[in-house]
Symmetry: C2
Subunit: 143 residues, 2 copies
DNA sequence: ACTTGACTTTAAGTCGACTTGAGCTTTTAT
DNA sequence: ATAAAAGCTCAAGTCGACTTAAAGTCAAGT
């Protein structure tokens, strides 16, 4: 596959694919003249990468998950990541419940609603920071 | 409360509090000479902000949630955010299951494991991008 | 032969969310 | 009275994840 096909199949721009290759997250199978050629399995790998990104892992963390050198080390890490995700899911669930409640709550301010404040406290246990805005993927850009 | 107390209570550095104030996410109740003074409710508001951040909302989105001007508009938006979160939670759950499975899977490569690949596909439906790395909060910095 | 369009590289730019530094003022402790 | 600690403002810097621009290469169609 050439880069445009992979881009289309994965929904990622070619620039991102080059960037990922440079970071070692994917590999091209060789060159066709100048041009990279990829084999089809890269599309699944990209799906996994996108998934990992959407789960809040950084590219570096995802790269770690791909190093299948020490099988035990790796299994342990995968479990650890899963646990981390579990905590995140709990928080998001609390947040979601808080939002749903806020949407119907009669209290003049959410800060005056005991139910909401309780959710706040529950959810705030394992807090962490997250830098940027979530953007929708634009699978195709025409310009 | 002065800024240091709020910082301690919220786990956020003073610089962040000033930054949030500048963005209109929080307000100081006045000045004590030069110094800002906050009333205690700001701590809850900050908890809510942190929670929102950890749920993947940008500061701008969180600011939107705080504008309780049009009650209907706002309720609709809160519901919309909750729905968005629901989709995220679904994805994260799939990702977590994928990771847990990968941690025990016998297949030589995860890409050769049908169970894993199925999870991939399920999880990849509503994909979105998320820019940065999650960092732990360091509540105290000594330098 | 030549233009077009897809691809290439490298460097620089962008974006959100903060952080850091410089230089000043004010409060507090000795 | 004075020095350290804590605040302040404003500008600039940082970080991760890409994106964009500039300038060049190359195969294919007219």
């Amino acid at each position: 596959m050439d880069i445009a096909e992979v881009a289309k199949a994965s929904g990622l721009p070619a620039s991102t694919l080059r960037f990922y290759e440079e970071k070692g997250l994917i590999h091209s199978s060789g060159r066709n003249g100048l041009r990279r050629s990829f084999n089809a399995s890269v599309v699944e790998r990209l799906a996994l990468i996108s998934l990992g990104r959407s789960a809040g892992f950084s590219l570096d963390e995802i790269a770690e998950m791909f190093t299948f050198d020490g099988p035990d080390i790796n299994r342990a890490m995968l479990s650890a990541k899963a646990d981390k995700l579990d905590r995140t899911i709990e928080e998001l669930t609390a947040m979601r419940d808080g939002l749903r409640h806020a949407a119907v709550c009669k209290a003049p301010s959410h800060f005056e609603c005991p139910k909401f404040l309780r959710l706040l406290r529950v959810a705030g246990k394992n807090r962490f920071r997250q830098p940027n805005k979530l953007k929708e993927i634009k699978p195709k850009r025409s310009v």
